[in-house]
Symmetry: C2
Subunit: 205 residues, 2 copies
């Protein structure tokens, strides 16, 4: 049988996403990843160095997918409720990502995976929101970075602390559509300009 190194690599990553999302970096088992991928364990060490390298590779791939799927352009930054909704949808369709992200946040203390690239990406989003603030579409009473923080917090927490959500809103509050509507509305209210708030300057558009 011929070889397909790219496929082995991909199958390992696919299996690893599941494993790390479910159990986290400490709880994940390398043997289980290999077994579930139908590939020998040793391949993991050739391709990714060690367990931590595999985790970083997994996270990096998911980060790229998110960035591609849910952009925040200058035009879109005026409606952060919509952005919250799109983020929510992506996380609903790809439930692994947020779990990986928060395993990372809790477990690894030092530099984040692909920190520079991610920081630059966030910076662009903050700039887009600042622009929307200048054109009066978003409140200027709070910093653009803080607003982005708020939106992410509102979207993410459903997935990160589902047990607290369950204890707060009850089983009937676990409905995805209802959660989505709530998040969009909360984000809108949080970011809306005051009724008589004037635009503060020229936009970059």
């Amino acid at each position: 049988m011929p070889w397909d190194t790219e496929a082995t690599r991909r199958r390992l990553l696919d299996a690893a996403v599941e494993e790390f999302a479910e159990y986290g970096p400490a709880g994940a088992r390398v043997d289980r990843v290999a077994r579930s991928a139908g590939v020998n364990k040793e391949r993991i060490y050739q391709y990714f160095g060690d367990k931590d390298g595999l985790f970083r590779a997994v996270l990096e791939r998911e980060l790229q997918r998110l960035a591609a799927a849910v952009p925040l352009t200058l035009e879109q930054a005026g409606d952060l409720g919509d952005y919250a909704g799109r983020l929510f949808d992506h996380h609903t369709d790809h439930p692994h990502f947020l779990r990986l992200l928060h395993w990372e946040g809790l477990a690894s203390g030092g530099e984040a995976v692909a920190e520079a690239k991610r920081a630059a990406l966030q910076h662009d989003k903050v700039a887009a929101i600042a622009d929307a603030q200048r054109s009066g579409l978003v409140t200027g009473a709070i910093g653009a970075g803080q607003l982005l923080y708020g939106v992410m917090a509102l979207v993410d927490w459903w997935f990160v602390a589902p047990h607290v959500v369950r204890m707060t809103v009850g089983a009937e509050g676990m409905d995805r559509a209802a959660q989505r509507a709530a998040v969009v509305e909360l984000a809108r209210r949080m970011t809306a300009p005051d009724r008589d708030e004037p635009p503060t300057g020229a936009t970059s558009r």
Copy 2:
């Protein structure tokens, strides 16, 4: 030397809080807890059954502390910005708790620690907010449970995803006082009634 069983128990819990908050249930090491507490490992199994029992005991104690320190009474529910600020202060002073809570959320799939008691507590808070909605202090456009969700999400995320926060608001945005101010303001805006929104009914006060 005389014995003090209550003290050994407490020293184990104190050491375990640190350990579990830092490494999570999977990453935590029983030996390390015992060593750091200056107590023999076997004591842990006598007092708490197993590693998971120790984790639950730790979490339960911290939950009680939080409930005692940051209440949400009928009178206080009208100002959710203030509640957000008080929550934020408690978490700043007790940084272990939120990490434990989110390790729990990510790691354990089934029933939560002390689920019934916690659910009842949350239910009371939701009821208090619903009351504030009826008296027109808080917007009625969103369910009370969802509002409580929003406040918790806004407060907690600083502590849960510090690496994302760092990449979003930069090193200068990591100032606690600034974060507190942002959270309070975001919560106020999110929960404020619309300008002409009328009270919807009688309060229970």
